[in-house]
């Protein structure tokens, strides 16, 4: 279970931990959008800034990246697709398939940008409690009259709370089936059926237990929410992020 939670909140006292969640959400959006327009010098600058911030926040990056290893496969796929599809001067030619210099360059740039987006998102997730995100969502939805902001925010925070449980149940179900030799069955439909039915049953049972535990502790929509407050630190950080983004896009 422990390793499945590495992508959740990690307590700390860094500036990143102390910033108002609304500002952090804004930074996440702005930095991600700016990085999509960045090239090598800007990407180097962004990477350096991110590394300093992440190092300061003392986040378990190695463990988090281990959990994100499947994203690396996606990046590899993107890199290969770019390398093979962009026209230019050939570097390798094999049976009609050409890898171009321009393709390699573009593939590397796109992957670098995606890594920046992922790392920015990771620093947000690792330094922000789900209760803070819930409060921020509620705050952002408040101006819209026909949207039940509180209910949406609660549903979102419950989903976040339940994700590690789903992973845990999937792992247990998989292990239980492996010890009974499910890997000898080659039919993927059979394996999917035998995996998904008990998994769904377990998930619903756990959800029932969670609901009971929450009811036993008087859970309701009306509760003491995380109180959002911004200060000088947030505005200074905003100025810094705006400057950084201006440098990147110009």
């Amino acid at each position: 279970m422990a390793e499945l939670n590495v992508l959740g909140f990690h307590a700390g006292n860094s500036v990143l931990h102390q910033l108002d969640v609304r500002f952090k959400l804004l930074f996440l959006v702005v930095i991600s959008l700016s990085s999509l327009n960045a090239f090598i010098p800007s990407l180097v600058l962004l990477t350096l800034v991110l590394m300093v911030v992440l190092k300061h926040a003392r986040l378990p990056l190695k463990m988090a990246l281990k959990d994100l290893r499947y994203v690396l496969l996606l990046l590899l796929f993107v890199f290969m697709a770019r390398s093979l599809s962009v026209l230019g001067s050939p570097v390798v030619e094999f049976k009609g398939v050409t890898v171009t210099r321009e393709g390699l360059y573009e593939g590397a740039i796109v992957c670098w940008r995606l890594v920046i987006v992922i790392m920015t998102g990771l620093s947000f997730v690792l330094t922000t409690r789900s209760s803070e995100i819930k409060a921020a969502v509620e705050w952002m939805l408040k101006p819209f009259p026909f949207i039940p902001a509180k209910r949406i925010a609660i549903m979102m925070s419950l989903v976040v709370r339940f994700i590690p449980i789903i992973f845990e149940q999937a792992k247990k179900t998989m292990e239980a089936q492996r010890v009974r030799g499910v890997e000898n069955r080659k039919n993927p439909v059979y394996r999917l059926k035998m995996f998904s039915i008990p998994l769904m049953r377990r998930i619903f049972e756990r959800a029932d237990k969670l609901v009971l535990a929450m009811e036993a502790r008087c859970y309701s929509e009306n509760r003491t929410d995380f109180s959002l407050s911004s200060g000088v630190k947030d505005w200074i950080a905003l100025a810094g992020v705006v400057c950084l983004c201006l440098i990147i896009i110009t």
Partner: protein
């Protein structure tokens, strides 16, 4: 003074299965009561009626003279429940977040929530773990965290459902010591268990359940000889004709 009164309580599940049948029980303030019985005898079903997680099909459960069914939120605040599976009870991202969950549900102001969290964590000795992820705690620590989670709601009655299941020896000792110290400071303790070995030395009263009903209700020392008839193992010392001692000695 009776803190809990149960009169003619019966419960039928949606599929018609009888969960409880005509239960009558009064529990004195400050007592340490163990409800024992084999699996499926109705122990957990009975406990869930004490804080309104289940409502009676027939009969009444009252707490300080007030109906549980009519005062659900208040009852759940007064009667804290530690579940058999501590993992399923943990909802917070850090130890202190989890303890704060109950007081936040009571709409207390942030200062009061923080005060209660600190106090509860100090009581169970988990203050130094306050920023840790709950799932990284040991079994005994998780159970103590669950206790802290309900202590922060300042209940009068604490219910434990099979508190020692899947705990190692140090874990059992940690949780047992916690339960005893909570009893000593005046909490009413009600424990559901099928194994009396660890509890019997500290119990004021033993209630035995069978097929949804109460079949024995007396001092533990008076019931030791009857236990095995109802699928409950007699404590080792008692089987050997010796005096039963605490697991903490």
């Amino acid at each position: 003074m009776n803190i809990i009164e149960i009169e003619n309580l019966s419960h039928r599940f949606a599929d018609g299965t009888v969960g409880l049948e005509n239960i009558n029980l009064s529990i004195l303030k400050g007592t340490f009561v163990v409800i024992a019985g084999r699996n499926g005898s109705g122990k957990t079903t009975l406990l869930k009626h004490l804080n309104g997680l289940l409502l009676p099909t027939k009969g009444v459960v009252t707490l300080f003279g007030r109906s549980v069914a009519k005062n659900l939120t208040w009852s759940r605040q007064m009667v804290g429940m530690v579940f058999q599976d501590a993992d399923s009870q943990i909802v917070g991202e850090t130890v202190s977040d989890d303890v704060a969950f109950g007081p936040e549900n009571l709409c207390l102001d942030r200062t009061e929530v923080n005060r209660r969290v600190s106090l509860a964590l100090e009581t169970v000795g988990l203050h130094h773990h306050k920023d840790q992820k709950p799932h990284l705690l040991s079994g005994g620590e998780k159970r103590r965290l669950a206790i802290a989670g309900i202590l922060a709601m300042e209940p009068k009655v604490l219910i434990f459902d099979e508190p020692f299941s899947s705990l190692d020896y140090p874990g059992v000792k940690e949780v047992l010591a916690q339960m005893i110290s909570l009893h000593q400071v005046g909490h009413t303790i009600i424990v559901a268990a099928h194994d009396l070995e660890k509890l019997i030395a500290h119990t004021d009263r033993l209630v035995i359940m069978e097929k949804g009903g109460i079949v024995r209700d007396d001092l533990p020392s008076h019931l030791l000889g009857d236990l095995e008839v109802f699928g409950i193992r007699e404590p080792c010392a008692s089987r050997l004709g010796m005096e039963v001692h605490s697991w903490l000695n």
